[in-house]
């Protein structure tokens, strides 16, 4: 009887802990930590994080794969298919970690192909992303009807962007709502690294100074602490811990880049109804630091796709 009681108490504890953890995790955000974040933040972002403890929910928003691809295109970069993760690699990804990372990577590649109107690649990369989502058990993220809709609208870039955005939201919301924030975070990390990898590979060192793409790469320094905070919220998961170690290595290189920003002045433009946030920024990245950054990003990204 006592033994039965012990077993049932143990079972109850497991169910209770599971329930509490799922309820805690499915709220779409993270409870603010009760102690200081262990992430080291650079002086220019410290103030933003200082009062992090006050909120009930914290969202760390990385650029989505679509936004990353858009940033590359807006910098005037060319399209290079050889930089994308080959769709032939899909069968290599069998663990949750590799599927999550490559869901983000393939979604970024898909976005990149969409923005440059690479019609056959769009279908191929949507299928590769679907394979990753299916492997992760994400129900209804990318259905056959989505692929059919994509094929029907293959020459309509606006509809394609809508479909890419919708499928990514389906995946991330499913993962958040089903208590899998670590998988959701790894998907975002995969997409962010792919965007950064493609950008660093597209920089022509002969045109380093004043290169708009280099400016975009420097901007990613602003997201490295957000990325670490996002991963820290799933710390303890072995797959996430491995990625934290890799990102920390990248942060050391990013910390060699200096960004100085003047105070932001909002100015409302009545003609367009848009507020312009005016500020001047000074950045400093030597070609040597850039090459170190590109090598580190390449090494990490290649470990994700191998």
């Amino acid at each position: 009887m006592n033994r039965n009681h012990e077993i049932s108490s143990g079972l109850l504890m497991v169910v209770l802990l599971f329930t509490i953890s799922v309820i805690g995790c499915t709220s779409g955000g993270k409870k603010a930590p009760k102690e200081d974040l262990s992430v080291q933040v650079p002086t220019d972002n410290t103030a933003v994080y200082e009062d992090i403890k006050q909120a009930e929910k914290i969202f760390n928003a990385l650029p989505s794969p679509l936004e990353s691809a858009m940033l590359i295109k807006s910098a005037g970069a060319r399209f290079d298919e050889s930089l994308l993760n080959n769709v032939g690699n899909v069968n290599k990804y069998v663990t949750n970690k590799s599927m999550a990372l490559n869901l983000g990577i393939y979604t970024c590649d898909l976005s990149f192909a969409s923005l440059y109107e690479q019609t056959q690649l769009i279908i191929d990369y949507m299928n590769a992303a679907k394979k990753m989502a299916d492997g992760l058990g994400i129900l209804k993220a990318i259905e056959q009807s989505t692929i059919d809709r994509l094929e029907e609208n293959i020459n309509n870039s606006e509809v394609i962007m809508e479909i890419v955005s919708e499928t990514f939201m389906n995946s991330s919301s499913y993962l958040e709502d089903n208590g899998q924030p670590a998988i959701a975070a790894m998907t975002l990390v995969g997409g962010w690294f792919e965007g950064l990898y493609i950008s660093t590979q597209l920089v022509d060192m002969k045109e380093f100074n004043g290169n708009k793409l280099v400016g975009r790469i420097i901007d990613q320094k602003l997201s490295i602490d957000i990325l670490l905070s996002l991963l820290e919220s799933s710390k303890g998961d072995p797959a996430v811990d491995e990625i934290i170690a890799q990102v920390s290595k990248l942060k050391i290189v990013f910390d060699k880049i200096k960004i100085t920003t003047s105070p932001v002045r909002p100015e409302f433009d009545q003609a367009t109804n848009i507020t312009v946030l005016k500020s001047e920024v000074k950045t400093d990245m030597t070609p040597e630091v850039f090459l170190e950054l590109a090598a580190t990003v390449g090494e990490i990204r290649n470990s994700f796709v191998k």
Binding site: N4, S8, V48, E56, I58, L62, S74, D219, S229
Partner: protein, 146 residues
């Protein structure tokens, strides 16, 4: 044996919590997404169930050369949703409180910045009542500057 009777209750609690969040996703798609209008949704999902008086914070880098729209929506059963956008020096750059609790704000940046959004569910101020709770969704749309 009595302890086993609690298991279905806990299972129901679990299912209910997942269901509430699934409703948040439906709310975000049905109500908040259309608020982005001609802006392309970035595909990210930020939604949570908040109670009157609760706050949420979001950290995000915004880039020059892009036009942005942020849409922050709360379910009808909630009081007004207040949001503020701050820079790294904690200067408030925008507050929708000064704009009749508008759900959206359009902006662009001269240089890329990490900004902080603070979202707060205001209060109905009805003492003794159970505080209202409901989904709050934050969405971003963008356009490349022409």
């Amino acid at each position: 044996m009595r302890i086993y009777r609690l298991i279905p209750i806990l299972a129901l609690l679990l299912i209910a919590s997942v269901k509430v969040d699934a409703q948040c996703k439906a709310f975000a798609k049905k109500v908040c997404l259309p608020e982005l209008g001609s802006y392309t949704h970035d595909g990210n999902y930020h939604a949570a169930v908040l109670v009157e008086g609760e706050e949420a914070e979001l950290y995000k880098t915004f880039y020059s050369d892009m036009d942005y729209r942020v849409a922050i929506c709360g379910e009808d059963k909630l009081p007004n949703i207040e949001f503020r956008i701050m820079d790294s020096n904690k200067n408030v750059l925008y507050s929708n409180k000064d704009n009749n609790y508008s759900r959206t704000w359009d902006f662009k940046l001269q240089s890329s910045q990490q900004l902080k959004l603070v979202v707060k569910v205001t209060s109905f101020n009805q003492a003794g009542d159970t505080p209202a709770s409901g989904c709050v969704s934050i969405m971003f749309g963008f356009k490349i500057k022409k």
